[in-house]
């Protein structure tokens, strides 16, 4: 059996400074702390942005997320993790950008078929067959299902954090996740 991927953290083990400690250091002017925070969270944010359909200027989007987050730390509630808060900000930015782009193109909302075509057009250049099919299957999900599935699968985020992020309940997120898994697996099976 393959071991689980990702960091093997046992309960209570602290190997790196916490987000709160890094934030405090950064507020005192420590640029290394800022770099550590960005290094820790930027890849996941970029991955989530990409899974939301963002294809261009992901760096800029992630940077805006950090700027907004650190510019309004008063709004950061301690009952959520920094990562969840960052994801929440990023999600809002993605939605804003999507609305602006839709207005700019004077286009109607993308339906599922169009989303699949976008994924196919991009991924055919670089992706392997299985990954392409998975992404196509995920692209067929509803926006909320896609978000829940992505956050759960690619980030391992807990239902409680996802619920807070997307403004739903844990139970609803659980249902969305399992429906998404069933849908994507069914798509792969039929393809």
């Amino acid at each position: 059996m393959q071991p689980p991927e990702g960091p093997q953290q046992s309960a209570g083990e602290v190997s790196e400074p916490s987000d709160a400690a890094l934030i405090a250091r950064w507020q005192r002017g420590d640029q290394l702390a800022a770099a550590a925070l960005v290094s820790r969270h930027a890849p996941a944010l970029a991955r989530f942005a990409a899974s939301c359909g963002v294809r261009e200027q992901i760096d800029e989007l992630v940077q805006d997320t950090f700027v907004r987050a650190f510019g309004s730390l008063d709004g950061f509630r301690a009952d959520s993790t920094l990562r969840t808060w960052l994801f929440t900000i990023l999600r809002r930015l993605v939605l804003d950008r999507t609305r602006v782009e839709k207005r700019r193109r004077d286009d109607t909302e993308l339906d599922e078929g169009q989303a699949v075509e976008e994924y196919n057009a991009l991924d055919a250049l670089v992706a392997e067959e299985t990954a392409l099919r998975v992404r196509a299957g995920v692209a067929r999900l509803s926006p909320l299902q896609r978000e829940v599935f992505t956050l759960r699968v690619t980030e391992g985020m807990a239902y409680s954090d996802i619920a807070q992020l997307v403004g739903s309940t844990e139970g609803a997120c659980r249902v969305h996740y399992h429906n998404a898994v069933r849908s994507v697996r069914g798509f792969l099976h039929d393809a």
Binding site: P4, E5, P43, A46, F70, R182, H189
Partner: protein, 186 residues
């Protein structure tokens, strides 16, 4: 054809297991279930494939940090951080203490201040109509009925609108006798 696993609890936590978020006990429990459940093993394989189907876009951490530094100055960080609430609370405490001290001193001053002597009270000459100014010294409540009536009549008779035209004043110019012949001399 997919089959369902009856152990929904384990199936529900497979993403956390995949990301290594569990403690040793839960991890062992999940692995024990996986060893006996083909459905969950297949689902875990699917999740691993799905996870890697979304490669991480390349992000320039240095550029982001630079942008972060230029967009949020050290001063704003200090204000945004705990300094602002702490300063605010210190000011609030100082203001509260000041208010208490000033208020207490005022109350104490009023209590200890001797009553003003009657002679120092301002004398209000309402009119020249014969109302004794000394009545004001004693207080209006000490006026008799006749004195009060006289005072009210004098008030009614007063002209509420002053004349807009100033009265002409003709002041004689007095020139010193010795200065008349010396004007313009130097």
């Amino acid at each position: 054809m997919m089959h369902e696993c009856e152990n929904g609890e384990i199936r529900d936590v497979l993403p956390e297991y995949m990301h290594g978020r569990h403690d040793a006990v839960t991890r062992a429990r999940v692995e024990a279930h996986l060893a006996a459940c083909l459905v969950c093993t297949e689902e875990l394989a699917f999740l691993r494939g799905a996870r890697h189907a979304f490669p991480t876009p390349v992000v320039n951490v240095d550029a982001i940090v630079r942008g972060l530094a230029s967009n949020t100055s050290v001063e704003s960080r200090a204000v945004t951080a705990s300094a602002r609430p702490r300063r605010l609370s210190q000011w609030a405490i100082a203001a509260g203490v000041s208010c208490v001290l000033v208020g207490g001193a005022s109350v104490q001053l009023l209590r200890t201040r001797p009553p003003a002597p009657v002679e120092q009270r301002p004398v209000v000459n309402v009119s020249d109509s014969g109302v004794p100014a000394a009545a004001a010294e004693r207080g209006w409540s000490d006026l008799s009925y006749d004195q009060l009536k006289q005072l009210l009549e004098s008030i009614d008779g007063a002209d509420p609108v002053p004349s807009l035209e100033p009265t002409a004043r003709t002041s004689p110019i007095i020139v010193p006798a010795g200065a008349a012949g010396h004007t313009g001399g130097g």
